[in-house]
Amino acid sequence: MKLLRDVHQEFLTGAYQYVLPETVLLGTACVLFVLAITVPRRAVAVGVGLLGVAGAAALAALVGVESLRGVLGWQELSLFWGTVEGTPYYPRALSPFDPTGPAAFVRWVALASAALFTLLAYAETRDDNACEYVACLLVAAAGTSLVGRANDLVTLFLSLEMLSIPTYVLLYLPVRSRDGQESAVKYFVLSILSSAVMLFGFSYLYGLTGTTNLGAIVDTLNDAHKSQVGPMALVAIVLVIAGLGFRLTLVPFHFYAPDVYEGGPTGVVAQLAFIPKVAGFIALARVLGMLYPPLDQLPFDASGTLIPMTLWVLAAVTMTFGNAFALLQTNLKRLLAYSGIAHAGYMLIGFVVASTLPDVVNGTVPSQVGLDSVLFYLVTYGLMTVGSFAVLVHLAGGEHPVETVDDLAGLAKTHPWAAGALAVCLFSLLGLPLSAGFAGKLLLFVGAFDAPTTGSLKTMARILAVVAVVNSAIGAVYYLRLVGVMTLRSPLKVAETSRGNVALVVALICAAATVAVGVYPKPLADAARAAIPLRDVGR
């Protein structure tokens, strides 16, 4: 039998095997940085970028898709469990990367969004900055994918930074205006601050447990917090939630979002609205111990109400605040920023459900523990938000880009395809049936109504669902206003679309996918459910 030390060592030395597609993305980025000096062409940058994404996707399929098992002879999961075979050790408490659970799902989301954003880059960039832009984009995508599998404080922090640092460059690259600089600096300073806060929390976690492995940390804290929560652990988790809250634009850590979105280049803002949310939510789930058994205890909560109620308050405040302020906006990007805040609030509902400790029946518990609906909603949110921003990129060609609500007037007459795509995305954000947004909201709301617990927390979860429903009604007001302006009013001026139709294609892809997922949500919902393991009691 292998010794614990050997297993540990094997995981550390073999860690690269769990991040092969991400390595391909990073390699492509390096190639692009070289090409930036030698062949600064937009088409080359986008082509190489897409090639890199395709390569990463192929590799991801080889190491992850069950039916391709025979090609390499090994796969991530077989490797992961094979390392500890015949030993009593639990791999999630040893490995720096965890390919189980949502890791594969997040990887595919990251790859798909990388492809979309690379396409969008074609519209956003010029020859002289395209290569750097696409390279930064790929690094950010790799970072997102890594967050999905980071199982160690060090890898988690590094992946989150791998996501943030390219974003600083991206915000600064295409736009050299005052507003652009302001937004880049604002994001940079606040992002650094939030990272520092989070790192501070991580240091407490390490100090408390003596390990950086998240699985081990969760185990240790679970054992220590059977009856009472240590105050230092509370400080740590509060700091971590605050640090992640910045990326998730949770109220009160959202203040940067409207300003940064307004000033930043639209294509980058599209990325900023989506990618950090994916990474942040997965990281939050991991740190809160929601991806690890056992489920009858939370690592930071002995009573079973502290964490759920904290998340409850965050969710309710975030969605209400986001929607209320979105009502007042006239600038489209600011409006979408507040809309993104509101949707982050909706997604937190899934976390509230996941953190209520379920009643165990017959040794198994319901698999619908909330996180799968968060994964589903993340995808739908990505589709509709990126689609909306892509339309704005498409319309931002001329001297006077479409910026305010009034600029959209009569869009249905002047640019019917763009207006159609935007209308689909807006209806989906509104949560109208046959759009992905409806299916996502339904999953979240039903999850909240059916929280697998009893007692007052169940009531609280239900109240939260009602709060969310009222919020959807408020949200409908401003989304419908946009649709009304586009389709019912006559055009004031015609927006220029000198950037070509690539952005429009991206928008149409997103809109079509929104409808497809809305009409037949089963495959995506099942994939999301499969990504969240059925948590058996004990190990």
Binding site: N362, T364, P366, S367, Q368, F427, L432, P433, L434, F438, A439, L442, L443, F445, V446, F449, D450, P452, A465, V466, V469, V470, S472, A473, A476, V477, L480, R481, V483, G484, T487, L488, R489, Y520, P521, K522, A525, D526, R529, L534
Partner: protein, 688 residues
């Protein structure tokens, strides 16, 4: 596989698919096809009606009122016919399961290892309640297309495409037997209506009207969504407390659905356990009734046992008092313990009953919110005047004739069957009274209008009030009348709006004071207008008469002497009288007297074109036909109305009220035998 068997389910799919296809074709190829496509849809639904009449009438005898609901294991429930995706179709079995296997989204906890999660399904079907509404939708859409041809000058292709999209959504909502699918279609009607009103409305206020309509309705229906989720979670399929013994084929069998509590041979009270969630309306209906009965049975048994224990305790005490000098205290202590246990159980059982009822009241309020706005029931009608006067007249016609039926149909299909206890306890008291207020208020508002469109709009509100009262009378006559009145109201009100469109297209105004003596100028129009007005008033031999008489009969239910019902019936009757008053006043002003009319609009010929004339003739003729011979409709709704009425009766009996229909139900007695689980337990059971 028998191909003939596949035709009716294909027709059900086509009823939703053809309008969608029509929308696409019109958008791509131009507006000329619109009339043809609407006619094609009419053919599809006519065939569907024929097939459904056959199916419903064949099973008419077996679906009459019977004792199953009380004595047997499961209450009667809706049995949708021709369900696409019915598993028996593939196996060429003759009996339908009235369920489908087409899943859309698995939603809800996995019941156990190896058992599939509950699914939202693509569950469409026809029965007596919805087939006529689907037909009505086809007829009225054809009328809308006919009266819009040539009148809509701005982007006609888009206009007709949205019109067909609206038709698809409404038809889908009528045909849905899955509760989430129903909501999806219900909500989807908003999008086409929004664009139709906002883009093609005649006035300046059309954009605000479109937004008001959309947001007001959405706000209401979001509460309905919460209610629907609540209903689903409150009514999981009840399972037999013990799984059947393992067999060679099935070594680890799961428990089967079982719809009532029973006392096992050992005298132990056995309650069904909560099984998987379901989204199928028929299954939910059965479950709702079952859980109510289970709670009621438990409370009755607990009360009986408490009485027994009380008696035992009294006997023990008496023996103690009269007994020997050294009493045996253990007997008395045992009796005391038994009594306290029984008292605790009785308290729990009663608390459970109260909790169930209170939950239903909440769900009732939530569910009704959306339907009350859509119908509209009076205090929630404030969106109506703006919308009806700002929408293009063909769309106003559809709103009044078809979309308002979504609200009443929702009450009939969802509210009453799924929250029967609250609907019987508070339906007539609250919504019936609101309906009565609507009847009178609508009538007076109609009388006060100068605008012909608003007059017709308020007249529609008034008649819908009658319909709402009928829905909550919850007896056979009332519900039959309501089902028929939905169709009749659609035809008569729709025809009225269509004919108002005649005037609007020619003279551009709806101001009543600008018209007079039109009978000389447009004799054909005048004839049809008088006919349709008479139908609206409820003249014998015209359609509304039949349904309104049935409704009044339902409210004057002689088997339940209730002052409230009589009061409502009086209000309803007065509404009918008032409608004669304002309608004839309007007719006198517009058709008779000195001939005046605003100048003709440019490029309009005063003569009726053929398509337009057909558009007026079809609904008017149907008003006459249904007035003379409503029997096919009455026959086909009979079975399903009995199902709803029985559901309500069971709820009434649970509350200790007498049943209102003459179902000859057996005297209420707690069943104690353990009947085997039903072999064929309806749509949900098929998946078990």
């Amino acid at each position: 596989m028998d191909t003939f068997q596949l035709i009716p389910p294909a027709l059900v799919l086509a009823a939703v698919g053809v309008p969608l296809l029509a929308a696409l074709l019109v958008a791509l190829l131009g507006a000329r096809l619109a009339g043809l496509l609407a006619a094609a849809q009419l053919v599809v639904t006519t065939l569907l009606v024929v097939f459904t009449l056959g199916a419903v009438n064949v099973r008419g005898g077996e679906r009459g009122p019977h004792r199953e609901g009380l004595r047997g294991s499961a209450a009667m429930t809706f049995e949708p016919n021709f369900v696409p995706g019915d598993p028996t179709l593939a196996n060429n079995e003759f009996a339908q399961t009235h369920g489908t296997t087409w899943g859309l989204l698995s939603l809800g906890p996995v019941p156990g290892p190896g058992v599939p999660a509950p699914e939202v399904q693509f569950f469409l079907g026809v029965d007596g309640l919805n087939v006529w509404l689907v037909a009505l939708t086809s007829v009225m859409t054809l009328v809308a297309v006919l009266i819009s041809l040539g009148r809509v000058r701005e982007r006609p292709a888009a206009y007709f495409a949205w019109l067909f999209a609206l038709q698809a959504a409404v038809t889908g909502a009528f045909l849905s037997f899955d509760i989430v699918l129903f909501y999806v279609f219900f909500e989807l009607t908003l999008v086409p209506a929004f664009f139709l009103i906002g883009n093609w409305g005649p006035g300046r206020g059309r954009r605000d009207a479109a937004k008001l309509f959309f947001l007001y309705t959405l706000f209401g229906s979001l509460f309905t969504l919460v209610g629907l989720v609540g209903v689903v979670l409150a009514n999981p399929t009840p399972l037999h407390p013990t799984p059947p013994p393992p067999t060679a084929r099935d070594p680890k069998p799961t428990a089967r659905p079982h719809y009532r509590a029973f006392t096992d041979p050992a005298g132990e009270l056995r309650l069904p356990t909560e099984g998987p969630l379901t989204y199928s309306i028929p299954q939910l209906m059965r479950n709702a009734s079952a859980w109510g009965n289970v709670r009621g049975y438990r409370a009755r048994v607990a009360a009986d046992r408490l009485a027994e224990a009380d008696a035992g305790l009294a006997a023990a005490n008496a023996r103690l008092a009269a007994g020997p000098a050294t009493p045996d205290l253990s007997l008395q202590a045992a009796a005391e313990k038994a009594q306290s246990l029984a008292a605790a159980e009785a308290a729990t059982a009663i608390a459970e009953v109260t909790r169930g009822r209170r939950l239903q009241v909440w769900l009732f309020v939530l569910l009704v919110a959306g339907f009350a706005v859509k119908t509209p029931i009076v205090p929630f009608h404030t969106w109506l005047p703006t919308t009806y006067s700002e929408a293009p007249i063909a769309v106003t016609m559809l709103l009044a004739a078809v979309l308002s039926k979504l609200g009443t149909y929702g009450i009939l299909r969802v509210v009453v069957p799924l929250v029967p206890d609250a609907a019987t306890a508070y339906g007539l008291e609250v919504l019936g009274v609101l309906g009565a207020i609507g009847v009178v208020y609508g009538a007076f508002c109609a009388f006060g209008q100068r605008n012909l469109r608003l007059l017709a709009a308020y007249s529609s509100v008034s008649h819908l009030g009658l319909l709402v009262m009928a829905l909550f009378s919850l007896n056979t006559e009332g519900l039959t009348g309501a089902s028929l009145h939905m169709v009749n109201h659609g035809l008569a009100t729709g025809a009225m709006f269509a004919l108002l469109g005649f005037l609007e297209a020619r003279h551009g105004t709806m101001d009543m004071s600008q018209y007079g003596g039109l009978i000389g100028r447009y004799p054909g129009f005048a004839f049809l207008f008088v006919l349709v007005c008479l139908a609206n008033v409820g003249l014998p031999f015209l359609n509304n008469f039949v349904s309104e008489m049935l409704i009044l009969a339902g409210l004057f239910d002689p088997s339940v002497v209730s002052p409230l019902g009589y009061g409502l019936a009086v209000a309803g009757a007065s509404g009918i009288f008032l409608s004669a008053w304002y309608t004839f006043t309007m007719l006198r002003r517009v058709l008779f007297g000195p001939p005046i009319a605003p100048p003709l609009r440019e490029g309009v010929t005063p003569a009726m074109a053929l398509p337009e004339a057909l558009g007026y003739l079809i609904p008017a003729a149907l008003c006459v036909v249904l007035g003379l011979y409503p029997q096919p409709v009455l026959d086909s709704v009979k079975g399903d109305v009995a199902v709803v009425a029985q559901q309500a009766d069971l709820a009434r009996m649970r509350q200790g009220l007498p049943p209102s229909t003459r179902l000859h139900l057996p005297p209420e007695s707690p069943t104690t035998d353990d009947a085997p689980p039903p072999g064929r337990g309806g749509p949900g059971a098929a998946r078990w």
